[in-house]
Amino acid sequence: MINIKGVSKSYNKSGIKAVDNLNFHVRPGEIFGFLGPNGAGKTTTIKMIVGLLNPDEGSITIKGFDNQKQPIEAKRNIGYVPDNPEVYDRITGIEYLNFLGDVYQVPPDIRKERIRYFLEMFDLTDAASDLIKSYSHGMKQKIIITGALLHDPALWVLDEPMVGLDPKSSHLLKELMRKHCEKGNTVFFSTHILEVAEKLCDRIGIIHKGKLIAIGTMEELRKGDNIESLENIFLELTEQ
């Protein structure tokens, strides 16, 4: 689903690499958790996957489409939720969703059904006709999640999706992620909540100082040591 080959990125021509020669792939049908300390390069990597940043070197393909050479095809297959919810604050929730429905060309019937489903699920039906300006952080997050899933993309890319969500919404989102993957789709998300990663993810990647230092299932990361928690593994790996 995602294929990352030799990707590097540095900011401001300072030469310090935010992401350094990244190589990995994420398979269809799996939930992939992307972990790392603050400033390790998680958001940079995610932004390169979805096309908000251009890699200095290397290539990224989404469902076979190179996101630099065939950006539109790649984007059609991605639903992205950024880490901070910045949306047009002077349009209403429903206007925002209809806008996305139009630009992703979601047919009216399907759109109607999905909008209703998500709004009800996230308890946003009443707020949908209000300006997004009046929404709380969590509500903005939920309307962005709804917008990102409206076209039922094969790949979800979520940057810290649980931040700002209440326990119920967070639980619902995790269920959605699980269901989505059961249909053969892929979820790629970053998080600091290691318990979530441990329980939810099929595979985990840990990035540290721009380099991928570990990747695999929980068992593979434990290397046979059954009692070790993800927290311990994480702390050990990122100590240097």
Partner: protein, 560 residues
């Protein structure tokens, strides 16, 4: 006091962008020229105005001398200065006290309400000096030099100028404090900004109108008439607002009398400030906090309504166009500068050209212009004005910048940049087109231009507006200003807006040059129109190709 001073220091730093300037001059050297350019622009814009005003005041002084009231020049300056501060101060104080974003960060800090209020008040005051100095300084200098005042006068003048914003601003602040305690104006913040913006425009128009009423060459005479016949009015106003009179007398009278008025002015200023601090400490936070709740309609859709709203469907370009219009209409700054500007602009243009003259002269002018042999010039002049209105519009030249932090959505959606800029283009062009249509119709009505010629103006104006909009949008696509915290920065403090106007003027000059050349060559009227239309069409097509190519590259290149 230390807490207050450190808060004040921070507020002043933010207000004047001192750290930002330092950063620009030391780290981000590429952007060094921007503030320099802004300062230069302000100087170029304001120096002629101040010179004109000083000449006017000098006239007032001379008239005052003949009336045996040389201090008239000081009354006028202090009165108008304090009046300006009072009128605009209300909105300024409302926005800094209640609408500024930093309140959310300041309220949780262990600060007394009066410290927050006091520091904000001082910042507003310091800003008002920038308004007051050009109003007060010329009259103080004229009076001082022409009556040959000594050292003491200049000291008194300095004290008075420093204290002059206090009284009007404190009155504003008291008014606002009490008002906000009881009425929740935050809810209608958008409406308020639009009202203030419109008020500003109308005041500008009014001043323009009055200045144009002054007969050329007879300014002295005119002034004498106003001052003698209406000195009652000036007296009346200064009686209603005695501080201006105190300031004047404190400055113009000698010895103890002068010192007494000066002391009165300063003591009243200090007392009022203390009252504000006292009252502010009691009710400021209450007013701020009562406005924090967010209004929601809390109205669920009916099934029918939901079906209608959830199931709309249109193409990506139309969806983007609709979004652009919604944001333009609903964001006060965009609405005022993007739309209201092109609607009021044509009226201002017509006013400027046709209200300076006496009405009999105007009738004469109109009848001369109706002469068939002049019709080609009238049409071309009308076209020029229509395109001028279109070119002054900043809707296209800030179209990408306005996306700001939401630009990630533009990068994410699977809509080719070509289509995205197309949606923006149609939006910017239609705004310009409103300007073209209004100018054409107003001119036609005013100068009694024939329907055929009006249509020529409209058609050529439309073609020109198409070209200008592409070029304006191109500027913003090339170098959008995406980092901003306040929509004002995206529209009014955006170099692209200014650059767009300059490019539009350049295009107008080129078109005017071509036209003049054709007129000299003696080309027939209709041939001139056809050539102009063709030139604009071809230029539009070429620019469109450029715009699309640049958009494809830039949307990819811009990282967010």
């Amino acid at each position: 006091m230390r807490v207050f001073m450190s808060l004040l220091k921070l507020n002043l730093n933010l207000n004047f962008g001192i750290s930002d300037l330092k950063y620009r001059f030391t780290k981000e050297k590429k952007k060094r020229w921007e503030p320099v350019l802004v300062v230069l622009g302000v100087i170029i814009g304001f120096v002629p105005l101040i010179v004109f005003y000083s000449i006017f005041l000098n006239g007032v002084f001379s008239v005052g001398l003949t009336l045996n009231q040389p201090e008239l020049v000081l009354v006028i300056a202090f009165l108008s200065g304090q009046l300006v501060v009072f009128v605009f101060g209300i909105f300024y104080i409302m926005s800094t006290f209640y609408f500024s974003k930093d309140l959310n960060a300041l309220i949780p800090l262990p600060l007394k309400p009066y410290q927050v209020l006091g520091s904000k008040m001082v910042v507003v005051m310091v800003n008002e000096y920038i308004t007051l100095l050009p109003i007060l300084l010329p009259s103080v200098i004229i009076f001082g030099t022409r009556t040959g005042q000594g050292f003491l006068y200049w000291i008194k003048a300095l004290l008075l100028i420093l204290a002059s914003p206090v009284i009007p601003l404190v009155l504003d602040a008291l008014l606002v404090l009490v008002l906000m305690r009881f009425i929740n104006l935050r809810r209608s913040k958008d409406l308020l900004s639009v009202v203030v913006g419109l008020l500003g425009m109308f005041i500008g128009l009014g001043i323009n109108f009055i200045v144009r009423r002054i007969p050329k060459g007879n300014e002295q005479e005119f002034l004498r008439n106003i001052l003698t016949s209406q000195s009652g009015m000036i007296k009346l106003i200064s009686q209603r607002f005695p501080p201006s009179l105190w300031a004047t007398l404190g400055l113009s009278r000698q010895g103890l009398e002068g010192a007494g008025y000066l002391a009165l002015f300063i003591v009243v200023s200090i007392l009022l400030f203390l009252v504000l601090i006292w009252l502010g400490n009691k009710i400021f936070y209450k007013g701020v906090l009562s406005g924090q709740e967010i209004v929601r309609k809390k109205k669920a859709f009916s099934t029918e309504e939901a079906n209608r709203k959830y199931g709309k469907f249109s193409t990506p370009v139309l969806a983007i166009l609709r979004r652009e219009w919604m944001l333009l209409l609903r964001t006060p700054v965009y609405f005022l500068n993007g739309l209201v500007g092109v609607i009021i602009g044509p009226f201002i243009l017509v006013f400027m050209f046709f209200t300076g003259n006496q009405s009999s002269e105007l009738d004469q002018l109109i009848s001369v212009l109706q002469n068939e042999s002049l019709s080609v010039y009238v049409t071309l002049g009308g076209l020029g004005l229509a395109l001028f209105t279109a070119g002054m519009n900043v809707a296209a030249s800030t179209a990408v910048s306005r996306e700001g932090k939401t630009f990630w959505i533009a990068k994410m959606i699977p809509v080719p940049p070509k289509q995205q800029v197309m949606g923006k283009y149609i939006n910017g062009f239609s705004v310009s087109e409103i300007g073209v249509l209004l100018t054409a119709i107003l001119l036609a009505a005013f100068l009694k231009i024939s329907i055929v010629k009006t249509l020529v103006i409209i058609i050529l104006g439309t073609l020109g507006a198409m070209l200008l909009s592409v070029l304006n949008l191109l500027i913003d696509v090339l170098h959008p200003k995406l980092v901003w915290n306040n929509p004002t920065e995206a529209m009014k403090q955006n170099m692209n807006g200014l650059l767009g106007m300059l490019i539009s003027m350049l295009v107008l000059f080129i078109l005017a040059g071509i036209t003049i050349l054709m007129l000299i060559k003696g080309l027939s009227e209709w041939l001139i129109y056809i050539v102009l239309g063709a030139v604009m069409c071809i230029a539009s097509i070429i620019s469109f190709k450029g715009l699309f190519a640049v958009a494809e590259r830039q949307y990819m290149k811009i990282e967010v």
